[in-house]
Amino acid sequence: MPAAIEIRDVHKRFGDLHALSGIDLEVPCGEFFGLLGPNGAGKTTLISVLAGLVRADRGSARVMGHDVRSDYRAARRSLGVVPQELVFDPFFTVRETLSIQSGYFGMRDNLAWIDEVMQHLDLASKADVNMRALSGGMKRRVLVAQALVHKPPVIILDEPTAGVDVELRQALWRFIRRLNRDGHTVVLTTHYLEEAEALCGRIAMLKQGRVVALDSTSNLLKRVHHLLLRLRLAGELPAELRALEHGSTEDAHVLRLKTYDDVEPALSCIRRAGSRIEEMELLQPDLEDAFVDVMRRS
């Protein structure tokens, strides 16, 4: 069985900007894959290459084994893309939008699936409402529905939860998780790293058009060889601990420690300095730490 997504040595330049500098990536079928990186890292360009919206200068991209250029019909049929921008066609209702999108893919008698998708995304009550009259969150749901209307085996979501309320975010993830359980391959870009940590089995991190880390989410978390000690003190933090400070807030100090063995010396240092500990918490590193770590080192 071919990989859901296979990207080989893809380069893309926009004028002087080298947006993608030799990306190699393979996403097997059924995976929930995360694509992370700061703004301008090339995530959207990479997705656009897969979707045929941007043509790579060099290299190849395949979806379910179909080359996105030479076999574009099969490649596009295999792919559903939820774009980052909140775009819509103001001439049509939700149902018309979905039925037109389904028709573009040559799907006949697709009304039952369209109804099911609308049901899952809580769009049924808005089926006959014009797109113009929908709230931002509702428009976002329609974009997701549009990407799913032709039942693609591979779904790419480009920051689908940007500016979306908590309720919709959770509903959306429940639905996407179910699709993934049913065998769909899901690729997600997001700025909410806790979201990627909770959902993605494997993650690629991009920086300046290159893959700088590619591993399972658990391995990426293991790479972070430190833990964080959060303290609220009555009194000052001793000067010798200041060097360990890591993202402290107004009412709490966060210290970055190498191992559990460093906890006791830090506490005794505070005691010696005459400060009192009012609150204390040991934090495990999360994906955000891994991300910051990778970005700093690469």
Binding site: S48, V87, G103, Y104, H150
Partner: protein, 251 residues
């Protein structure tokens, strides 16, 4: 439905849903032209020796409406989709560039012909017009609107702002239409302008179209059809090459 049929259907729905603007408005404009020019000129001029001016004017106005609306349909659809970003919905599906071209041009042809027929219907109670060769009428309306549909696509693809499409329309399409013999027979022009008119492809569209009504024209209709067909082939060829290259659509 196939992808092509859906895109065509969507393009038709798009103008049908705002038919007051896309059909009603051009019909009103054409009717005003007819009543004002007809009132001023009627009885003063006879065209082709026997045709009253108002009757002569009607096919010209109909064809002008056909051409301008065909252009407006494809150009405005593309530029609006590009500006709002919803062009992505037609770029993501497995549509070939040929299907893309055919759907937009055919929708432009339908819009042009529907507006043309509406203008014709509105003028019929007021003006006595003959229909000597209906097939010529249909052939020129089809080819003319297809040319303008393809030109509209080029403008829509090339332009990045709505005013660039408007410039294309106001500085190229409008002058070429007005100078093509909508309001006059080129035989009434001085020799130089008469000669120059023969380089305007729009002249052949209107002259051939008018032949269908009166059986009289400045140029033989076969020659006009050949010129219009050649122009259509050229414009379509260029548009297809542009679409294939992905120019301004697929970066």
């Amino acid at each position: 439905m196939s992808g092509f049929a859906t895109l065509l259907h969507k393009e038709l729905l798009r103008f049908w849903k705002v038919s007051t603007q896309t059909i009603g408005a051009p019909v009103l404009t054409a009717a005003l032209f007819l009543f004002i020019f007809g009132h001023v000129m009627e009885g003063r001029v006879r065209m082709y020796d026997s045709v009253p001016y108002t009757a002569f004017l009607v096919p010209g106005l109909v064809m002008m409406a056909v051409l301008q609306n065909a252009f407006a349909n494809s150009s405005s659809s593309l530029i609006q989709s590009k500006i709002t970003g919803n062009i992505i919905f037609v770029l993501l599906p497995p549509l070939s560039y040929g299907e893309f071209f055919a759907a937009y041009v055919l929708a432009a042809v339908v819009r042009g012909m529907v507006v043309g027929a509406a203008v014709m219907l509105v003028t019929l109670p007021f003006v006595d017009v003959e229909f000597r060769h209906p097939l010529w009428i249909v052939a020129f309306a089809f080819c003319g609107s297809a040319v303008l549909g393809a030109l509209g696509m080029m403008a829509g693809i090339w332009a990045e702002k709505i005013d660039q499409v408007a410039s294309f329309q106001n500085f190229l399409i409008m002058p070429l239409t007005f100078l093509s013999g909508v309001f006059y027979s080129i035989h009434s022009l001085p020799a130089f302008w008469q000669g120059l008119s023969h380089f305007n492809p729009f002249f052949y569209m209107i002259d051939g179209f008018r032949y269908g009504f009166f059986g009289v024209s400045d140029v033989h209709p076969l020659r006009s059809l050949a010129v219009v067909a050649a122009f259509l082939a050229t414009v379509s060829g260029v548009t297809l090459v542009v679409l294939r290259s992905g120019y301004k659509l697929r970066h």
